[in-house]
């Protein structure tokens, strides 16, 4: 058994299913059921969060490998087992999921239509996402990775905006098309190594010729999920059309799945191919940062603007991962956390406006700071964090990535760093259009400031933004060892290969 003495990761993963069962038993009038379902889902989602915090306290930061490992027989005859484990890379992504689910549930007060199904889907989504980050077996990972599509498809399609059906189908088909290529890679690796255990796969050398194909397959699936330019086109539609809680989960957690996949599979398993793909990934990252920032600048809808800013930030994360330096990878990981929290905060802010019956068209907002000072302060904080102001979480991630990139390539560092300036441009446009300027409509003078429920969503996020920004080492400390061993293994794999190549040349 593991150091917790009980299967803590499985418990974390499957506790939300209890909520699904509870919600399925609710009966009565539609609105009452929706309220009960929301309360039940919220209560249930706090349990894994508490367990997650316990996991954090018990986590041993000096170990690089998997901890709290669980395994059980699953598929006979083939070496496919049910394996769960957590290391420095996945620990905070699990925690991010656990923190954001209750917040997403809180933000769904406006969901009254078919509430039971909605909250059941949200809890299922939590199970799938946590399970995916905690999986220590490739097949198990794949199962969770794909299964996320099912609840998300329904969340976008049933409770989304006007173009919800188009957005839901596009989201589903794009992701499925990508992941099936990963399935191909998975099967290949399975036959190559004889197992789907991630640890064994990490230590199985793969011929460089095959690595390129595998990398292409991973790029197809993780690239779509992480919305790497030019595979991002599903994202603005999905983010824009999903209901606010769905957008929060999509932007804050699901987009991290792709980046996590790169960190967990593509980089450590395919060192030669990822080194060879470095220029490509840098280019994609830089294009995302610069081009998408301009696209964000041109948006007229608050939600879509934030969605595009999310794509731009994914560019930074991709650059960080592919620097293969400790700073760069840590920066990318940090940025994943920070971006998850900041973007969730921003989308909660859009939800606040929607709850007041306001639209999100920038041209029809303005002057809200007068009537909503608390809201204005928090939106400002998240916007500043999104552009990477020092003292906020966004700064640490960006600066680490820039430093990491600087070690590798000056231009990548410069152009990737330009994202901070462009970020300031579009975020300030957003803030001005929403909070300042003049009232565009007389009704805007009547809106009320945040209520208790909205404070309960925004204050924890704001606190996290500041915590990450002011005392980052409480987080980086936890993933130092894992990242260092990842980078070391990568360097070692590359140098042994070059050494081998030199020997064969002679």
């Amino acid at each position: 058994m593991n150091q917790a003495g009980f299967p803590i990761l499985s418990l974390l993963t499957y506790l939300p299913l209890l909520g699904v069962v509870y919600i399925a038993t609710l009966r009565g009038a539609e609105e009452a059921v929706a309220r009960q379902a929301r309360q039940g889902a919220l209560a249930i989602s706090l349990l894994p969060l508490a367990l997650g915090v316990y996991l954090w306290t018990q986590f041993d930061p000096t170990q690089a490998g998997y901890q709290f490992v669980e395994s059980a027989a699953w598929f006979p005859g083939l070496d496919i087992q049910y394996r769960m484990g957590v290391d420095g890379i996945s620990l905070f992504l699990i925690l991010l999921t656990l923190v954001l689910t209750p917040i997403a549930i809180l933000s769904s007060a406006s969901i009254t239509k078919r509430g039971r199904s909605f909250f059941a889907a949200l809890l299922l989504l939590e199970t799938m996402t946590t399970g995916m980050f905690a999986a220590a077996d490739f097949l198990l990972f794949y199962v969770f990775f794909e299964a996320v599509l099912l609840p998300m498809y329904l969340i976008i399609g049933v409770w989304g905006g006007e173009k919800r059906i188009y957005a839901a189908v596009k989201f589903f088909i794009f992701t499925l098309a990508g992941s099936l290529f990963m399935l191909l890679a998975l099967i290949w690796l399975w036959h190559h190594a004889g197992t789907t255990d991630i640890v064994t796969l990490l230590h199985t050398p793969i011929p460089p010729a095959a690595q390129l194909w595998l990398f292409a397959a991973f790029l197809a699936s993780f690239g779509v999920k992480a919305a790497v330019w030019p595979l991002h086109t599903w994202l603005p539609d999905a983010y824009g059309e999903a209901p606010v809680p769905g957008t929060i989960m999509l932007a804050a957690v699901l987009s991290k799945m792709g980046a996590y996949g790169f960190l967990r599979f593509a980089v450590p398993m395919l060192p030669q191919a990822s080194a060879a793909a470095e220029p490509l990934m840098f280019t994609l990252g830089v294009v995302a940062v610069i081009y998408i920032s301009f696209v964000a600048l041109a948006q007229t809808d608050m939600k879509r603007l934030i969605a595009y800013s999310s794509v731009a930030h994914m560019g930074v994360i991709i650059i960080g991962i592919f620097t293969f330096t400790v700073e760069g990878v840590e920066g990318a990981l940090f940025q994943m956390l920070s971006h998850g929290i900041v973007i969730a905060g921003l989308f909660v802010c859009t939800g606040v406006l929607l709850a007041r019956g306001e639209g999100l068209a920038l041209s029809r907002l303005g002057g809200l700071a007068v009537r909503m000072p608390a809201y204005a302060a928090l939106l400002m904080l998240f916007s500043l964090a999104n552009m990477g102001l020092p003292g906020t979480s966004g700064f640490i991630g960006e600066i680490l990535v820039i430093v990491g990139a600087l070690k590798v390539n000056f231009w990548v560092s410069l152009l990737g760093g330009a994202g901070m300036i462009l970020g300031a441009a579009y975020m300030l446009v957003l803030v001005r259009a929403v909070l300042f300027d003049k009232f565009t409509r007389p009704e805007l003078a009547q809106v009320s400031d945040l209520n208790a429920r909205e404070y309960a969503m925004l204050l924890p996020l704001a606190a996290l933004v500041l915590w990450l920004g002011i005392y980052p080492s409480s987080f980086t400390h936890m993933f130092d060892a894992s990242v260092a061993s990842l980078v070391q293994a990568h360097t070692a794999a590359l140098s042994s290969h070059t050494a081998l190549a030199m020997v064969t040349q002679k």
Partner: protein, 472 residues
């Protein structure tokens, strides 16, 4: 007595069917309920007996029982029981509750059992014809309906053509080798084989491909699926498919086992065309039964992928795929049979609009089956695909797998459309209450489909043992 045990299930089905027929003829009014339950009991007893039967060769090598035949038999029995349960209420409401239907099913199953166990081209053909004739009549069960009789006639004419091709192929093989026994053929059909036998092989493959409705021999499928009463379609979609696929496996690996080089390409092409046609042609369908027809063509393509690999792992993969497919399929047909508004069966996809809001459980079950058919994990359908892809990739059939992946994505689109209609579109289907028997089949199918992931071991081990028994 021991020597009779392996054939006892077939005897039970045959004699039981005759006894039920007598009861049916002599009793007034038509005892449709009684014969249905009788047939179900007979099938269950036959299934249990067949599980206990030992491995043996019967009637001088005409029939052979092994773990493989028991695996396939179990699938056929399960599917037939499910189809009869679905027919109970449906046939009564449609006014086609004739006592002959369960007896036809029994005789059809008898044919399937014989063809699964066949160890000789003659017994193969007899089983093949027995099940075909029973099914031709079943397709035209609603004899006052033009569509149903047309379906029956169409199925009969095309089926007769396929049978003709099959028997022609058999005659060629016999002519060039001088034997019809699988074991003897396997010894004779070695490296230096004449063109005649190869042409015979091709004709045999065509006949079998017709039965599993693999493209391009699928033409009958959409029309028969649509025209036949839904309860009969539910049978067509499951039991005969499983039986014919099992026969396909045993013929290809048995007598023609050494001719892998000759038939592998043909099977690959069949698989590719079936997958592509299943994916593309289903997109435009508005009738859910036609959609299921094209979907089943596609699924047979995936199942053939395992056979195309030609390895033991491939056979295992095909068996797993077919087993999972049978469950998904009768589950989906349970949902389709439950589509009934004010006593009238409806079968348009658009009739499902708004179902999720009115009947969340029903819609969720249907969504599960659609997702499983699209091969999305964690549902069972994914693992079927995983196994066939893996077997094919391992045998070096990369192109085949990539085409399979592409068609999976395309077909996901139309499965998603059904879910879209149920969940996203506004509407009020106002379906009638679902009878308990249909609910039962739906629930069993949904539970197996959703929870397979928790306990995959029994099926995987059984399929592995069956594949081993077949490949010897």
């Amino acid at each position: 007595m021991t020597s009779l045990l392996p054939i006892l299930p077939a005897l039970l089905l045959g004699f039981g069917g005759m006894a039920l027929l007598l009861v049916g003829v002599l009793t007034k009014p038509e005892p449709a309920g009684f014969t249905t339950w009788g047939a179900i009991v007979l099938l269950v007893v036959a299934a249990l007996v067949s599980c206990a039967a030992p491995d043996t060769l019967l009637f001088h090598g005409l029939l052979k029982t092994s773990l493989f035949t028991r695996f396939a038999d179990a699938l056929v029995y399960t599917a037939a029981v499910a189809a009869l349960l679905l027919a109970l209420d449906y046939n009564r409401k449609e006014g086609i509750a004739r006592f002959e239907y369960p007896i036809l099913v029994l005789l059809g199953v008898l044919g399937m059992v014989v063809m699964i166990s066949a160890a000789d081209l003659m017994s193969l053909y007899i089983g093949f014809e027995l099940q075909s004739l029973a099914l031709y009549i079943a397709a035209a069960l609603a004899r006052d309906s033009v569509r149903s009789t047309e379906a029956g006639l169409k199925y009969f004419v095309l089926g007769a053509l396929a049978s003709g091709l099959l028997v022609y192929g058999i005659s060629l093989v016999y002519g060039f080798t001088g034997t019809t026994s699988f074991a003897a053929l396997a010894g004779l059909l070695g490296a230096n084989i004449g063109y005649g036998a190869v042409i015979g092989l091709v004709f045999v493959i065509v006949g079998l491909a017709f039965k599993i409705s693999a493209a391009p021999f699928h033409m009958w499928t959409p029309d028969v699926y649509e025209g036949a009463p839904t309860s009969v379609t539910a049978l067509f979609g499951t039991a005969p498919k499983a039986a014919a696929m099992a026969l396909f496996l045993s013929v290809m690996t048995g007598p023609f086992g050494h001719l892998l080089a000759q038939w592998q390409m043909i099977i690959e092409i069949l698989a590719i065309i079936s997958m592509a046609l299943g994916a593309l042609a289903a997109i435009g369908q508005t009738n859910i039964k036609r959609l299921m027809a094209y979907s089943s063509i596609g699924h047979m393509g995936y199942a053939l992928m395992g056979l195309a690999a030609g390895t033991e792992a491939g056979i295992q993969a095909t068996l797993i795929y077919v087993a999972i497919y049978v469950v998904m399929s009768f589950g989906a047909f349970a949902c389709i049979i439950a589509m009934r508004r004010r006593g009238q069966a409806v079968e348009k996809i658009s009739d499902l609009a708004g179902l999720a809001a009115q009947r969340p459980g029903f819609a969720f079950a249907m969504a599960l089956f659609m997702w499983a058919m699209a091969g999305i994990p964690p549902l069972s359908g994914f693992f079927g695909k995983l196994y066939v892809f893996s077997a094919a990739l391992n045998a070096g059939l990369v192109t085949l797998v990539i085409i399979g992946i592409i068609t999976s994505v395309i077909s996901a689109f139309y499965y998603l459309r059904v879910i879209k209609v149920m969940y996203f579109d506004a509407g009020a289907p106002d379906f009638d209450a679902v009878p308990a028997s249909v609910n039962f089949v739906m629930a069993v199918g949904a539970a197996v489909t959703a929870l397979f992931i928790l306990l995959p071991a029994p099926l995987i081990t059984a399929a592995s043992a069956a594949a081993k028994a077949l490949m010897g």
